[in-house]
Symmetry: C2
Subunit: 207 residues, 2 copies
């Protein structure tokens, strides 16, 4: 059987490891690479080559950055006293793209998931606790609220509850909130699951 | 608004140009790159960097190769007298992956498509005619059959008819065939379009 040139095959095999990309798509993408301008390929190769060495984690919130602190932590126009705890940088981006939040973040880099052997020690929980502790001595930027913005599934819930308990141990009075449950905008009641409906009913607001 | 580190953003923007990949998927893939082992990224970058310089077209059939002639054209165990004319290397791979064909190929690198400004001169048609001509003087490996394996759509049909006419001009007696039309295996008659059904009816075989 004929096989593709080594480079092309290796690129296809690499792409096949990416989430949501099967063998056929990987081949198709590799072929598409061949048709791109040489300089674009060179630039892409260079970006991939230096990706890890140039992309670091913010020392305060563990967002991605090229420096020691990320743009959000350095931004004086943002409310540095409200911290949203998110699972991933992608979740952080969802808030940022919506332009709906002016506080800062703390990225956990995962959620507690015993089935996949992810425990609290694998996440940036201790770093969050330390951040709250260290912050307590600062007058101006003392953290006033922690928003637990982990995902509304079992693991996200467990993570939120665990973090709440940890915070309570060091600061009984810190305001801790959780994102609201309810019907997503544009949804059809007919297709809502009963747990979501129950939560929407419990959390109903006055009109 | 927060923006991603430069490298990551450029990688996401590059991936967004690939067919079938939108902004969200491109971001997700770029983040996935970050989690891959450093050596895998280095190897991938190197393969991308040298992709074009190491991948050439076979001088006989225009398949992809790292040498002057591709493995298929060099393979003495294959029937060098039967040539399947395909549009793309991906189509060639479909035959090869199925292990259903033991002849050789001629890759056109496209199909006649006036709406997209692709004419016969943009394809490897002249090269095919030259290949047939040159081959006529060889006794052992004289081409006996040309299988027109272009796609069963309007452009593929036009390309097949054009090539047939060109071949007839230089060799009236060369056997020229076209892939059969009919129902695909596993298909449901209910969902077959009427043109396919008509072709399947016309080409019906004795049981």
């Amino acid at each position: 059987m004929f096989s593709l040139p080594t480079n092309l095959k290796k690129i296809a095999l690499f792409l096949e490891r990416l989430p949501g990309i099967g063998q056929k798509t990987a081949n198709r993408l590799a072929f598409f690479f061949l048709r791109l301008p040489e300089e674009d390929l060179q630039e892409f190769a260079e970006n991939i080559r230096t990706l890890k060495q140039r992309t670091k984690l913010c020392q305060q919130c563990f967002n991605l950055t090229e420096n020691n602190l990320c743009d959000i932590c350095l931004d004086k126009n943002r409310d540095q006293t409200t911290v949203a705890v998110v699972e991933t940088v992608i979740d952080l981006l969802s808030f940022e793209n919506g332009n709906i939040y002016n506080g800062v973040y703390h990225v956990l880099h995962g959620k507690i998931d015993p089935l996949n052997h992810v425990g609290p020690d694998d996440l940036k929980v201790d770093e969050l606790i330390k951040r709250i502790k260290d912050n307590n001595y600062q007058v101006e930027s003392k953290i006033k609220e922690i928003i637990l913005a982990t995902s509304p599934d079992m693991e996200g819930e467990a993570t939120a509850i665990y973090i709440k308990d940890q915070i309570k141990k060091i600061d009984e009075n810190l305001k801790i909130t959780r994102l609201a449950y309810g019907l997503p905008i544009g949804a059809n009641l007919e297709y809502a699951d009963y747990m979501t409906l129950k939560k929407a009913l419990e959390g109903r607001g006055k009109l």
